[in-house]
């Protein structure tokens, strides 16, 4: 019996997530504690210290919850309802923007979690974070004209999302969703125009469950998302990426671009304050707005310089893998030449020849990445083209073209998606590195590498100018890597 309960502790996903949440929450708390002392003057910064205290309370509560869960699991083999009820208290940690404990609390209070529930939870969390981050603009001397209506719209959407969260928690089951949810689902897809892609995911997921009568398809969909969502780091990475994406979309209406690019000689090199959360740089530009607008460029360049080589490399790789040895040899040997030059070096050469701007940067980064995708695709196509369904398509008289692009390519996309996700992070780093060298995005555009370049000259006196954009880059890259790892675990058939 005892070993059985120990097993229950081991397989309990919620317990793992609880551990994950308290460890990360503790780290954040410690960082806050560290920052609440100013070592030079030897006194305590009261505002930061209060934030630390609040975090410490929720972290201790999280520790308590984890301990209680462990006891439940060892004693009864499952988590008791009272423990789950305690999760409602932990929901309040959302007010402190502690995403780790908040996400955990949502996980705890619902016993049977569908992918839709997880989407709905993260949808609301994302929207909340967008609103919170955007409302920092209220401390500024002025806001853009579109700020009030935009915030109003975002809030309305959030009310709708919270209603949907409750409905989903109540009515959606693992195998089916009630058919009256079709219209809300469509509304959700429409509201995903704000960039909150969890809306889109939830909407699509609901429609799949409403429309599809094929249980195997629903089960397949459930297992795939289940594997991704149970991976705490993967879903967290996805959350951060979607948050940044949505912020870059919403910032058009809620942030003032002039704050990020126009010089303000009245506010040069200000320390972080409520008006300027991250301080200002040597031209008096608000670093907070610059970071927000920089996300747009980083995401754009990251996605574009991954999508282009995925398409080109995938196409070439598919041809090389499907056709004869000669075509294969010619394509792959030519790509070997590209492969022999390190990507960033090739990018430097291309930019040296054609000039530094965003478009050239995207092209330069794309060219160097083609061979890796071609190799991945080729290996998959070689494997897939031996399957029976390809044989049967050929027997039915399909043309080579339709066999490749209708049968083989869709079935060999999974490793490409994983690889692409894992390399977007690399592209983001490459973008900022090249900008830092003066070879990337034009210097007047607020891009994280450009911001860092300015910050590096004020390293001694105003180090936050260099630290914050770096943290933003790491956050985004780490998120892509987490998501990529999660996708690999979910999509890689070898792991089954």
């Amino acid at each position: 019996m005892i070993s059985q309960k120990k097993h229950a502790l081991k397989v309990s996903r919620e317990y793992t997530q609880a551990n994950f949440a308290w460890i990360l929450s503790t780290i954040v708390t410690m960082i806050l504690l560290w920052n609440s002392f100013s070592f030079k003057e030897g006194n305590i910064k009261t505002s930061v210290f209060y934030v630390f205290l609040i975090y410490a309370v929720f972290t201790s509560f999280q520790l308590f919850l984890t301990w209680k869960m462990k006891r439940d699991l060892l004693k009864y083999g499952e988590i008791q309802t009272t423990t789950r009820k305690l999760g409602y208290i932990q929901l309040f940690s959302i007010a402190t923007a502690n995403i780790f404990t908040a996400a955990f609390a949502f996980n705890l209070i619902k016993k049977k979690k569908t992918p839709e529930y997880v989407f709905a939870v993260y949808m609301v969390l994302t929207q909340l974070f967008i609103l919170a981050i955007s409302s920092f603009n209220l401390f500024k001397p002025y806001v853009t004209d579109s700020f009030i209506p935009a915030m109003g719209a975002l809030m309305l959407i959030m009310v709708f999302q919270i209603i949907m969260l409750v409905l989903v928690a109540k009515y959606v089951q693992a195998g089916a969703a009630p058919s009256w949810m079709l219209i809300p689902a469509i509304l959700l897809i429409i509201t995903s125009l704000t960039g909150n892609l969890f809306n889109l995911l939830l909407g699509v997921s609901l429609i799949v469950k409403i429309r599809s009568h094929d249980q195997s398809r629903i089960i397949k969909w459930n297992t795939m998302w289940d594997k991704i969502t149970r991976n705490s780091t993967a879903i967290l990475g996805m959350f951060f990426i979607i948050l940044l994406f949505s912020l870059s979309v919403c910032s058009v209406y809620t942030f003032d671009y002039d704050m990020a690019v126009e010089n303000n000689y009245g506010a040069l090199l200000q320390k972080p304050s409520l008006e300027y959360p991250f301080g200002t740089d040597d031209f008096g530009r608000d670093l907070f707005s610059r970071i927000i607008f920089g996300a747009r460029i980083s995401l754009l360049v990251g996605f574009a310089s991954t999508l282009i080589p995925v398409v080109i490399g995938g196409f070439l790789g598919a041809l090389a893998g499907y056709y004869s040895k000669r075509a294969d040899n010619i394509i792959m040997r030519l790509l070997d030449i590209l492969y022999a030059v390190p990507g960033i070096l090739l990018a430097i050469a291309i930019i040296a020849a054609f000039g530094a701007n965003t478009l050239n940067l995207i092209l330069a980064l794309s060219v160097g990445a083609i061979p890796t995708y071609a190799r991945t695709m080729r290996a998959n196509v070689l494997m897939v083209s031996n399957y029976e369904f390809v044989e049967s398509a050929r027997a039915l008289g399909s043309s080579d073209f339709s066999i490749i692009f209708k049968q083989i390519v869709p079935n060999s996309l999974a490793p490409m998606i994983v690889k692409a996700t894992l390399t977007i992070g690399g592209a983001v780093i490459a973008t900022s590195s090249l900008s830092f060298l003066g070879l990337g995005v034009e210097p007047h555009i607020p891009e994280w590498g450009n911001i860092l370049k300015i910050g590096s000259t004020y390293l001694e006196s105003h180090s936050y100018l260099a630290i914050i954009p770096g943290l933003a880059i790491i956050g985004l890259v780490l998120s892509f890597n987490f998501l990529g790892d999660g996708l690999r675990d979910a999509l890689d058939p070898r792991m089954d």
Binding site: R333, L334, D336, P342, A353, I429, S433, L459, G470, I474
Partner: protein, 481 residues
């Protein structure tokens, strides 16, 4: 005794040659290569072959059979048959029978059939008589058997014999092919990089000489650096320059590009090699520990740190290091100087972080894959203890893919060195290229990029060759060839 051993050696030698010749002649590309390399010999032997072919038993049999076929009068029979077929076919398609076309068709079909029949019959007869069909290749092979022929033709056919000797040993063949391939890749890289820079819309002359430059000055500049030549001759000059380490003078400062690169290369390589050492020393033990304690707290922490290491941009890490260790703590100098060995520590760590992280992740996954293999389970079932299984059976095999990854990442590290060099103010090859790209100084950029690519190719060739000797799978695969 001595003569005997010598002769046996000689026989062995020519046998090896014949065996390799037979193997190579099967593939068209090699066949033509052999013909070209041994052109003088093949020309002469071909003449001998022609004269021999005439009084060859096989060809006389062929003649006889042909004569007998024609004499037997089957031709008429076939002709009627084909004629009937043709007419029926035209009738089926409702077409007019054209006399001339029909005769041509019949003649063609007849000849085809005749030669086929003759060939079949002749083969049958020669098989009974035990005569081998004489082709040029069999004739040449019979010549190779004769030591006298070998001695006589060794000097003019040295190239062909060298190729045969190279291909007689699978290892040498592999190394040779790998080297040839990398020569092609290097040439391709040179052409690619040159073409990219050639297509540049920037006018280096106008950038350098300023707006006030006269047409004559620009023309003189272009002429001095060979920029007024057509594409192909510029390309040829560039390729020649790369092969002979003579890239001419750079556009600015009038320094010799090859010398500058040679001066700046060592420091980049030193930092890269130290980073590599750091990565290997740290990452492989970490990976092994993580794999052996899969899903433990230690494993999670290591992999979390590795992922963070993978996500940190080099330049940011460099800046943070400078901020903490140079400005705040004042332990290490912020910029590199050749006299102070302490100043190399930070660049090495910064450049090596990404590599360390990838190698640790790779080691873990490779070890996990190996640990679950059947032969490891067998080893455990046989009663070996964990340590023996791990160190004698698992680690060695897990290292194989890791070495490839290290080779590939080493290339990326050399390429990415530019950023680290810029942060720590190291005058290595990377920062040299970046400094030169604003003009753009074409010979300098081209030289830098191509020589880095060449270094990387050579490292990868070395790794591939080492594999051929160490990986038992590749070894057995090569022996089957």
């Amino acid at each position: 005794m001595e003569t005997k051993s010598e002769s046996s050696y000689k026989i062995g030698f020519s046998e090896v040659l014949i065996y390799t010749y037979r193997k190579m002649i099967k593939r068209n590309a090699f066949k033509y290569l052999l013909y070209i390399l041994g052109f003088p010999i093949h020309l002469i032997t071909l003449l001998f072959y022609r004269s021999k072919q005439k009084n060859d038993t096989y060809s006389s049999i062929l003649e006889e059979v042909k004569a007998s076929f024609i004499a037997s009068g089957v031709e008429n029979e076939w002709s009627n048959e084909y004629k009937e077929q043709y007419i029926r076919k035209q009738a089926f398609f409702n077409r007019q029978v054209k006399e001339q076309e029909m005769n041509e068709e019949i003649k063609r079909l007849m000849e085809e059939k005749l030669s086929k029949r003759v060939f079949e019959k002749a083969n049958e007869i020669s098989k009974q008589k035990g005569v081998r069909q004489l082709t040029y290749d069999t004739y040449f092979q019979s010549l190779l058997e004769k030591p006298f022929f070998l001695l006589l033709t060794f000097i003019p056919g040295i190239l062909m014999y060298l190729l045969l000797i190279i291909y007689s040993n699978p290892y040498v063949q592999f190394i040779f092919e790998r080297l040839i391939m990398s020569v092609f890749v290097i040439a391709g890289v040179s052409i690619l990089v040159f073409t990219i820079l050639y297509l540049s819309p920037f006018d280096s002359a106008a950038n350098l000489l300023g707006e006030a430059a006269t047409k004559e000055q620009i023309a003189a500049f272009n002429q001095m650096h060979g920029l007024d030549l057509p594409y192909l001759s510029q390309l040829w000059n560039a390729l020649k320059g790369i092969a002979t380490f003579n890239l001419g003078a750079s556009f600015t400062g009038n320094e010799d590009v090859a010398t500058s690169i040679a001066n700046k290369f060592p420091i980049t390589l030193i930092i890269a090699v130290f980073s590599l050492l750091m990565a290997v020393v740290i990452a492989i033990p970490v990976g092994i520990i993580s794999a052996t304690r899969q899903n433990s707290f230690l494993d999670y922490s290591f992999m979390f740190i590795a992922l963070i290491g993978l996500s940190i941009p080099n330049f940011w890490q460099g800046l943070i290091f400078i901020l903490n260790f140079s400005i705040k703590l004042q332990w290490l100098p912020a910029t590199y100087s050749p006299q102070n060995w302490l100043s190399i520590i930070m660049p090495v760590i910064v450049l090596g972080t990404g590599l360390t992280a990838s190698v640790a992740r790779m080691t873990r996954s490779s070890m996990l894959e190996i640990i679950n293999e059947d032969y490891i389970i067998t080893a455990k079932a046989k009663g070996l203890n964990e340590r023996q299984v791990l160190w004698k059976h698992a680690v060695g095999n897990a290292m194989i893919p890791i070495i490839t990854v290290i080779g590939l990442l080493f290339g990326g590290m050399l390429g990415g060195a530019a950023v680290t060099e810029k942060v720590f103010n190291i005058s290595g090859i990377g920062s040299y290229i970046v400094d030169k790209q604003f003009i753009p100084d074409i010979p300098a950029i081209m030289g830098g990029v191509i020589y880095i690519a060449i270094t990387i190719s050579l490292v990868n060739v070395l790794i591939d060759i080492l594999y051929a000797f160490f990986d038992p799978r590749i070894r057995s695969k090569m022996k089957q060839l």
